[in-house]
Symmetry: C2
């Protein structure tokens, strides 16, 4: 990608940020091409290219001889309200339904059920070249074990990136894992024992619930606001009332609600847990896919005592097929490193070297800029279509990042029934019951928006709307 | 490798098998070149090449004008006797020492501590070519998740191989894992709960003990004969006396004792457990590295009810850096498949495709023939050196495969102390205390013989001998 390309993207991103923040409102004129060119010290051609991109995204429109204007858009359906899970911890039991959803991932199915980014926007050619080159230059990467903590080049690159989000990690603080899922497993195994209770957001990613289920750990679900995140008041109440071994949270672009907590609340969360010696396992897998102006900080950035265990991955952003993630487990470094050995010994070194090369070259930043625009775009299209095709009373979230929407259907809708009806029509979705150990969220669905927007996707949403209306 | 090369190896293997079985004894004349050439219907040149190989291995010697004779060899030190672990199950606690041994794996250290095969005998060039080719032809393997059970090409190849060892597996019976270690983790998680008891051989691979430790499962160690394997009488007694959730065993080339159970005993083991509904988790990671004439059957070959969960890997034989293993979990297929998703979602597809290609091409059989000869050779050299340099009263095992020796030092020797003294001399080894949850085997050490035989290796054994003698 050329320097000019980077510039026009920066310009487009900043205007689009102003629109989503409400600084520029529907119907208002955006700055003239000439004025913006002078202001930003970029060429007229760069601004024109940026406006063309925004126009393609449906954010602005050109009016003949009058310049560019912010488009009037149909307002999205209302947001859901804060969750109210039951107050007792309980054992999880959602495995069979998860398997059904996983099995629904087929090429002929329009997949709102998965949270896997598609291959379309991944840096395939670059990865292909680097793989061949490293396989040739570093043959030992094929024929030797790399024991935990993992390849040092990769850990050094991750440490360098961590400066961008306020965590001054060193390579020695980091352990490479098989994706974020293994990282989370290792953290849970390091700090909790069977029979313990772990608190988490409600609704939350079903994989987290399954990890607890498989280790016989109880889940205590905490009320969570779809825009502000886990209720710190409720969490504090729970901490003072019962013995909690750890808290798992996704402060950035939470799965499935999409919120990003404010820095203020992240700081409060870290302090609250640190004071009580309760570790925070932070899942930041969507942290790099923010829609705003800058990378939101993970809670780990406010950690002064090693009490936060930060889990991340490159599976949503660069190379889903590599299954490479990492964890910075704070003061549980030794325990997590041993747990990694016990769980899977190590990771393929070839893939670690390829990723390290990609990060070192600056390719990752360009890749993220592109992905963020694409996902924001796709989420916006799906939000509009859901608003149009789903029945009145439907509520949808306003994600701050990632590619996931949480949709609350009118009372009485049954998302498990809908899942099966939809699958017969070659459409998959995530039934809300997956996202809690209780029977909450039966009238909710999770919709992954990773598939490129197309008439096929729109038709699938229209069909879902029909099926839902029949349930009422 | 040419057809001729395969032929002379077959001839050499068969003569060497006759020597190790005692059919040809030291001092006896081996068949004349002409006679063997007629018998086996191969050329004289092929037989000559085979005898040259056997001569290089120190198995036979040419006497001028008199043909070839089996060499007189110094007999190895005695074998250890059957183990007698305590009869109560207990929680494991060996983590810190394991970390010390893992940390001792450095290029400047002569490594008897590790059980990782070195890169020297791996098919590096072939893997390099295939990686580049597949990365180019199948770009989706880089940018898409493969969910459990894993890539179908690879599973089909594994199923095809399973015919060679009496298991008629289909692709659908197999789940791809991150090495054998993850496979074992998944099986344990599928059939046992925290607080349960699992029975295993004593001594046994420390990784198995650590899996149990991390899941709060108790280990019940069963007396085990260094040549015949787990005592079926003791196991039956334990099964009738206490509640046992599962048995983990390595019937082929056990780590660390090296024995291979007889087919008769494997059959009895399978039947005994099947009758009681207690699953057998079979670790067959060294099964392909047999020294005898043919691939020993896994216990799974005698399983008629799906009660045996077979765990295997390619990390010891083709590509240690790929971390690819597999499990055929019998009637726990659904549970293990879900456990795999929970534990690490999936495996990198690129590496699965490369391995599938290697298996499909027949490269694996050639690779195994070569490795078996190399490891047998190295184990034999280390056995001789241990016999020569270690004090009287030392006992060593007679492995039937793999590359691991178990050495019982005279009473009073302390293997943990020896480990630390040796490390100061840049030599690593496996202290015996690692191989039990009790404090058994303090006077034993495990020696991995994966490093190519060289004066450096011999000097290290001489040095170990010195250190041991000082302890007496």
């Amino acid at each position: 990608m050329t320097q000019a390309a980077v510039l026009y993207e920066t310009v487009a991103d900043s205007i689009s940020g102003m629109i989503s923040a409400g600084t520029l409102r529907p119907g208002e004129r955006v700055p003239s091409v000439r004025r913006l060119s002078t202001q930003r010290k970029v060429s007229v051609a760069t601004v024109l290219r940026a406006y063309e991109v925004l126009e393609n995204q449906g954010l602005i429109e050109a009016r003949p001889n009058a310049g560019y204007y912010v488009r009037h858009r149909i307002p999205f359906a209302d947001e859901p309200s804060i969750s109210s899970p039951p107050v007792a911890p309980r054992l999880v039991g959602i495995g069979a339904l998860v398997q059904e959803v996983l099995d629904s991932r087929r090429p002929d199915v329009v997949s709102f059920g998965a949270a896997c980014p598609g291959p379309d926007h991944m840096p395939t050619a670059r990865l292909q070249r680097t793989i061949s080159s490293i396989a040739r230059r570093k043959p030992l990467s094929l024929t030797q074990y790399v024991l935990p903590p993992g390849n040092e080049d990769l850990r050094r690159q991750i440490a360098r990136k961590s400066l961008d989000f306020g965590c001054n990690l060193a390579a020695k603080d980091i352990i490479v894992t098989h994706g974020c899922m293994e990282a989370l497993n290792l953290c849970v195994r390091a700090v909790a024992r069977p029979g313990d209770t772990i608190a988490l957001e409600s609704p939350t990613y079903f994989g987290l619930l399954q990890i607890l289920e498989s280790l016989q750990i109880k889940a205590l679900e905490i009320p969570t606001h779809p825009r502000e995140g886990i209720s710190l008041e409720a969490l504090e109440f729970a901490l003072d009332r019962s013995k909690i071994a750890a808290v798992i949270a996704m402060p950035n672009a939470q799965n499935p609600l999409g919120f990003t907590m404010s820095d203020e609340n992240k700081k409060r969360l870290v302090k609250m847990l640190d004071k009580r010696g309760v570790p925070l396992i932070e899942d930041d897998v969507y942290g790099d896919l923010y829609y705003g102006d800058q990378r939101p900080l993970p809670a780990k950035a406010f950690d002064r005592t090693g009490n936060v265990m930060l889990c991340c991955s490159f599976t949503k952003t660069v190379a889903p097929g590599f299954r490479l993630g990492w964890v910075a487990p704070g003061r549980w470094l030794a325990q997590v490193q041993m747990a990694k050995f016990i769980n899977s010994v190590g990771n393929p070194e070839l893939l670690q070297l390829v990723l390290a090369d990609f990060l070192a070259s600056g390719g990752y930043d360009r890749q993220l800029r592109n992905l963020r625009r694409v996902f924001r775009h796709q989420v916006s299209h799906v939000s509009t279509a859901v608003t149009n095709y789903f029945p009145a009373g439907t509520r949808i979230t306003r994600p701050a990042g990632g590619f996931i929407l949480w949709v609350e259907l009118p009372e009485g809708c049954d998302s498990e029934e809908l899942f099966r009806q939809a699958l017969r029509n070659k459409i998959s979705l995530g039934p809300g019951t997956l996202f809690s150990a209780t029977d909450r969220y039966r009238n909710c669905i999770r919709m992954g928006c990773a598939e490129p927007w197309s008439p096929r996707v729109e038709q699938a949403i229209a069909k879902l709307g029909e099926l839902i209306k029949k349930q009422l």
